[in-house]
Amino acid sequence: MLQNEHLDVRAVNMGVDLFDCADRDIDRACKLIREKILRNASPLVGVCESVSRRYGIPVVNKRVSVSPIADVLAGHGKAELLQAAKTLDEAAGEAGIDIIGGYSALCQKGMTISDRSLIESLPEVLSETKRVCASINAASTKAGINVEALLLLGRIWLEIAARTADADGFGCCKLSVFANIPEDNPFMAGAYKGIGEPETVINIGVSGPGVVKRAIERLRQNHPNCNLGDIAEQIKTTAFRVTRCGELIGREVAKTLGAEFGIVDLSLAPTPAVGDSVGEIFEAMGIRHVGGPGTTAALAMLNDAVKKGGAFASSSVGGLSGAFIPVAEDSSLAKAVEEHHLSLEKLEAMTNVCSVGLDMIALPGDTCAETLTALAMDELAIGIINRKTTSVRLIPVPGKKAGDRAVFGGLFGESPIMTIPNQTSDSFVCMGGRVPAPLTSLNN
């Protein structure tokens, strides 16, 4: 029975191209942006609900992502970009959308004037808007790591946190910094509408991790002697079903809205709700404490089996397509941190075999900008060398120290503040410049 499996569609994301809204007059650009978002996105929630009812499958999040604003509004300064961010916020609100992504800059090799302005506007944007999410691509396998951008971001993270200090630095939850950012990712905060994408496109995120957890539990209950290969097979079969479910819903939503169907993202995206956790999948697989020995192997097997099932189910797999391990958004991971089973170092190791990276990591408020930069560099280095996407969502929590609790609320969850073991890398990161593209980039 589908009901017993709790299948859902985690995210329906509509990508809207905004390049035809570019204008030297910012008022006119904002007017065009607002009109275009409302024209395309206003029916999204209603259509998702109608398709959801038709198939009896809940659609959890309905979101919009737009073309990278630093490119759409190239030539504009910080004040104009802030105005555009407020336009995005208002238009999303009018269209009934809770989160809009694409306040983004792609600066893996260097920053344009508008890339820099956009990054500098983030403290105001992420504290003065409600729905806008931002993403910065600061590294890629082809370009290396833009350390200048990460040094700027180190300072910006602290400013965003300071401006949202009464909410434990919540503004930082709405900023993802990437290596190899995908153009068709449906998940926030990192979703933006890629430059190579169609005019309007529907990208789908498959069911949450609870479906996989229950499938493993069922298997182990019915076959107590099953081995790891059997569990991988069960995950693969489940991934086939959740992918098919996502694609069916996505195709119908796209068709009804007159948009193109883009991709199904196979990522298992947790929420703070109990039963909807990637950490609980590890527990179902027999890992007693998430973060203990075996966790990386379990995650590797989970991620691989999900891809195998999903790739057979759909010819349109894309986005990030890997399990997420966002600490604050996953109650089981947050608990493992609290009980000292899961450390920053182990999380970093885990990101070698999954997506996305050091995600939703609450850090001590007195962490210095250079340490934030160094943490981001480590994570993005994993991405560029392994030719995969990695990202960081770091939240320095003002006035709080390691072991205290940060509470972000809603889907952003809560987490203990993690310990950074050694903060002496300043002279390394402050040299700045760019980490060159790795040898693996020379593949032509």
Binding site: Q3, R53, L248
Partner: protein, 190 residues
């Protein structure tokens, strides 16, 4: 040749389908469709059979009855006629499922609602497991029907009988179970 629909009901045992089909074959019949089910030890069979023009309904019934013990088979024979127009309207297949504690009148109420809404039942299973009533119904909903009204009506019945009710397009079951290209599950957009 003339087409007949034959139904047989009996207490289930090994060999009933053989007895019925050999009886029909023995009087010159050619079976074109057959469907059988067993519920709580009772067997039912529905057969579409082509018969030589000279055979009568009575002869067909008696031929089948003779192949069972005395009084074993309850046989009904009717000439085949084209389906009723109400089941020929362009429709989409949905699966209706209800679960909860058994109560008096659930099936009568739900099927009354479906009939009043012009929805035809194609397949129907209802059973009780561990004191829980489960009902699975495959229905054809005419494409002009307002699906929201149907969903609301069923939800209302669910509340009345304290049942969990789901009405889902069959493609969600097919797409997640069948290994076929996705384009085959592309259904009409309401």
């Amino acid at each position: 040749m003339k087409e007949y629909i034959v139904t047989v009901m009996a207490l289930d045992r090994v060999g009933i389908v053989r007895d019925v089909s050999s009886a029909l074959s023995g009087i010159g019949g050619n079976i074109t469709h057959m469907n059988q089910t067993v519920m709580r030890g009772y067997f039912t069979l529905i057969v579409s059979v082509e018969m030589p023009e000279e055979r009568t309904q009575l002869e067909i019934r008696q031929a089948v009855e003779r192949n069972g013990d005395v009084g074993e088979f309850e046989v009904n024979v009717r000439p085949f006629v084209e389906p009723h127009p109400s089941v020929l309207r362009p429709s989409e297949r949905f699966v209706l499922s209800l679960r909860g504690n058994d109560k008096h009148g659930i099936i009568a109420s739900v099927t009354s609602f479906l009939a009043d809404t012009g929805i035809n039942i194609d397949d129907f299973y209802a059973y009780i497991v561990d004191k829980r009533f489960i009902m699975l119904v495959q229905v054809s909903i005419p494409i002009e029907t307002n699906l929201n009204n149907v969903q609301s009506g069923l939800e209302q019945l669910g509340k009345e009988f304290e049942l969990t009710v789901h009405l889902q397009h069959e493609n969600i079951f097919r797409a997640t179970s069948e290994v076929r290209p996705m384009m085959e599950f592309d259904s009409a957009t309401r």
